[in-house]
């Protein structure tokens, strides 16, 4: 038994989160209704403890657990840290918000923690059984969270659409796992890489897997659920969905793709991701231009951000498929580090923006139409300034974190292209993707700055009573904007942490 306890110890961050989830569930039903304001603090405490436990294992190398079901490494820890930050910000932002929308109860806190625990395990699992099960813990909690404000029809719809397409994609993912298991007789991600030769079963399995993960991260053409789910769900949940689900989905995708299908396998998957990334960036950015609803606009911009992160994956694939070119392997770690840095910057920008949206415009609705934003700088100057920071950062304008993140991703693609040309390979896929990415991000400047323009150069409309935001919301908006500025001005420290995180996947 001591053996088992010793084995479970490195898993303590996840175990703390699940324990907190169960505690919040019980606290919700055992406490009196008037004490329910205290429930988010259970979540906040849990996340704080989990974060400390997590830091304890940073830099200790790889730890294999439970016969290879879990691998605790710098990558898993980095993604887990992002998820815990997202969870913490969501708790803080929902302190007043949950009461206003009528879901201030233990289940809300509990489901957020269940989802976070599932995501952390997803980022750490080295076995497809564990991976699938933690993916499901995450998804099922998020389905319920999306429908949390159950008296609002839009919220019901969001949950319904998210559920149907999510379950649909899960089935694809599962069939992919089945085919991979059939071809390799193993569910261990590291053992799959040992199987030599190109097998149709394995290729079909990889294809189905890409479809399944494509849905989870919201890449085109599997993005159809994103706009409705993001618009209809309560703003705090949307922020969590946008950030944490994407981070966890990318974590699982990167781990499976880079570890189980490395090296020459990359020749088969990078063209797929090339096309997906291109389509994702174009669709996301172009449709976002026509949105009148800021929440929906942010949903499409989230799709576009998925596209930018996928550029990194394509560069990794191109670099990995040409291993004989000297210096190519050395490029891979900075590229993966850039992707991880992007996820971190995206976390603060998106959660900050959704925190601003969760300020009430009318009684129950969020601050979501462009009209709601007009003249915000006169009504709430600090909030408007923070929102401007988030939006300008998302547009990729210096000196904010979003610019640096985009810079790293595009630089990775251009570096790979330079290396290819230097060794005489005349293919321009990486360069083309980088240039097209830069062009699409030009579109994005328009729709982000339009909101800023509404906030600063329009007169506020009548009959928009505003509710005083809670201290948690103020703190979130303040801290996220500070984080974005710091990421933009002093990125090198964060980037080296991100590269450390990427070391577990590509050295």
């Amino acid at each position: 038994m001591e053996h088992l306890i010793a084995e479970m110890k490195p898993l303590s961050p996840v175990l703390i989160v699940f324990t907190g989830a169960l505690a919040a569930l019980l606290a919700g039903v055992f406490s009196k209704k008037e004490n329910s304001y205290a429930l988010p603090y259970i979540g906040i405490t849990t996340v704080a403890f989990a974060f400390v436990a997590l830091l304890n294992y940073w830099g200790r190398g790889m730890i294999w657990l439970l016969q290879g079901a879990i691998r605790i490494d710098s990558f898993g820890l980095y993604i887990s840290a992002i998820i815990l930050i997202a969870c913490l910000i969501t708790f803080l932002a929902s302190i007043g918000y949950a009461k206003r929308l009528g879901f201030e109860h233990g289940e809300y806190i509990s489901l957020l923690l269940f989802a976070s625990g599932g995501m952390m395990l997803l980022a750490m699992s080295a076995d497809l059984v564990t991976l699938f099960l933690s993916l499901e813990i995450m998804s099922i909690s998020i389905y319920a969270l999306a429908g949390m404000a159950r008296h609002r029809q839009k919220c019901n719809e969001a949950a319904l659409k998210y559920f149907i397409l999510g379950a649909f994609s899960t089935a694809f993912l599962l069939f992919g796992i089945a085919l991979i298991y059939g071809a390799t007789a193993s569910t261990k991600i590291h053992a799959i890489a040992q199987v030599q030769g190109l097998k149709p079963l394995l290729v079909a399995g990889l294809g189905m897997l890409i479809v399944g993960f494509g849905f989870k991260v919201g890449a085109a053409p599997f993005h159809v659920w994103v706009p409705d789910a993001y618009e209809g769900a309560p703003a705090t949940v949307t922020g969590f969905m946008a950030v944490a689900v994407k981070a966890a989905g990318f974590a699982a995708l990167l781990r499976v793709i880079l570890i189980a299908f490395p090296g020459t396998w990359a020749e088969y998957w990078w063209p797929v991701f090339w096309a997906v990334a291109l389509l994702t960036m174009f669709l996301g950015n172009i449709i976002a231009v026509f949105q009148k609803n800021v929440k929906r606009m942010l949903a499409y911009s989230g799709i576009a951000h998925t596209g930018y992160i996928l550029i990194g994956l394509v560069s990794l694939g191109i670099a990995g498929s040409e291993p004989y070119i000297p210096g190519m392997k050395a490029l891979m770690n900075p590229i993966a580090g850039g992707m991880l840095f992007y996820l971190l910057a995206y976390t603060f920008m998106t959660l900050g923006a959704f925190a601003v949206i969760s300020l009430a415009a009318r009684d129950e609705d969020d601050l979501e139409t462009l009209d709601d934003f007009s003249g915000l700088s006169q009504r709430k100057p600090v909030v408007a300034l923070a929102m401007a920071v988030f939006l300008i950062s998302m547009a990729g304008v210096p000196p904010f974190g979003g610019f640096i993140a985009k810079f790293y991703v595009f630089k990775g693609a251009i570096d790979v292209q330079g290396m290819l040309l230097a060794s005489g390979v005349k293919e321009y896929h990486a360069l083309a993707l980088a240039i097209l990415g830069i062009i699409t991000s030009m579109f994005s400047v328009y729709y982000y700055l339009r909101v800023v323009w509404f906030m600063y150069f329009r007169e506020p409309l009548e009959d928009r009573p505003s509710v005083a935001p809670s201290w948690g919301l103020h703190f979130v908006i303040f801290a996220s904007s500070v984080a974005i500025v710091v990421l933009g001005i002093l990125p090198s420290g964060f980037f080296s942490v991100a590269s450390r995180g990427a070391e577990a996947l590509v050295r």
Binding site: F18, A21, L22, L25, L65, L66, Q67, G68, A69, I70, F103, H105, E107, Y108, S110, L111, F114, G117, L121, V129, T130, L133, S134, E136, I137, I140, S141, Y143, A144, L145, G147, M148, R150, A159, F175, L179, G182, A183, K199, P200, L201, V203, A204
Partner: protein
């Protein structure tokens, strides 16, 4: 004998699945689903997995089917409330799309004949049976302890989510 049984099961399960997706009334679809789950259980038996066959009946036939039937009764839709159906062209294109998917998968299977061709390996008689509860248990409590524990977390999360969405008074 074995082949005849397999073909019969395959035909029945395919037919029930096809009927399921084409029935207008969800109650009939649920009955088709019951037949499909039953034939799947029989297929599991044929694949020498009696334990999983029993669990298939217990979980799908017991829990899942019952949840569906209760929901159908809860909604209790009149025939005129069932809503409209999508147009024929839409259905046709959906059919073509899923046919393409099926052909793609069958192609992948048939082209891996070195791995999937031929019959199943003979199981040694008498020894620790392949599909018994013992062998599954030994697997679970050996390498798959974590998934086993996670299942309980998953179910609690699902129950909490379902109650918070449906219970009238919270």
């Amino acid at each position: 004998m074995s082949d005849v049984m397999f073909v019969a099961l395959a035909v029945v399960s395919t037919a029930s699945a096809l009927l399921l997706v084409t029935r207008r009334n969800p109650l009939y679809a649920a009955l088709c689903m019951m037949v499909l789950f039953g034939t799947t259980a029989l297929l599991f038996l044929k694949l020498s997995a009696p334990f999983l066959a029993a669990m298939q009946v217990l979980v799908y036939g017991g829990a899942v089917l019952m949840l569906f039937l209760f929901t159908i009764m809860l909604l209790n839709l009149h025939p005129e409330e069932l809503g409209s159906e999508k147009g024929l062209t839409f259905k046709l294109s959906a059919g073509i799309l899923s046919a393409v998917l099926a052909i793609f998968l069958i192609y992948a299977v048939k082209f891996s004949r070195d791995m999937t061709g031929g019959s199943f390996p003979e199981l040694p008689a008498g020894s620790a049976a392949f599909g018994s509860a013992e062998s599954v248990g030994e697997g679970i409590f050996d390498a798959f302890v974590l998934p086993f524990e996670l299942v309980s977390v998953l179910i609690v999360a699902a129950v909490a989510g379902a109650i918070v969405l449906t219970k009238k008074k919270l």
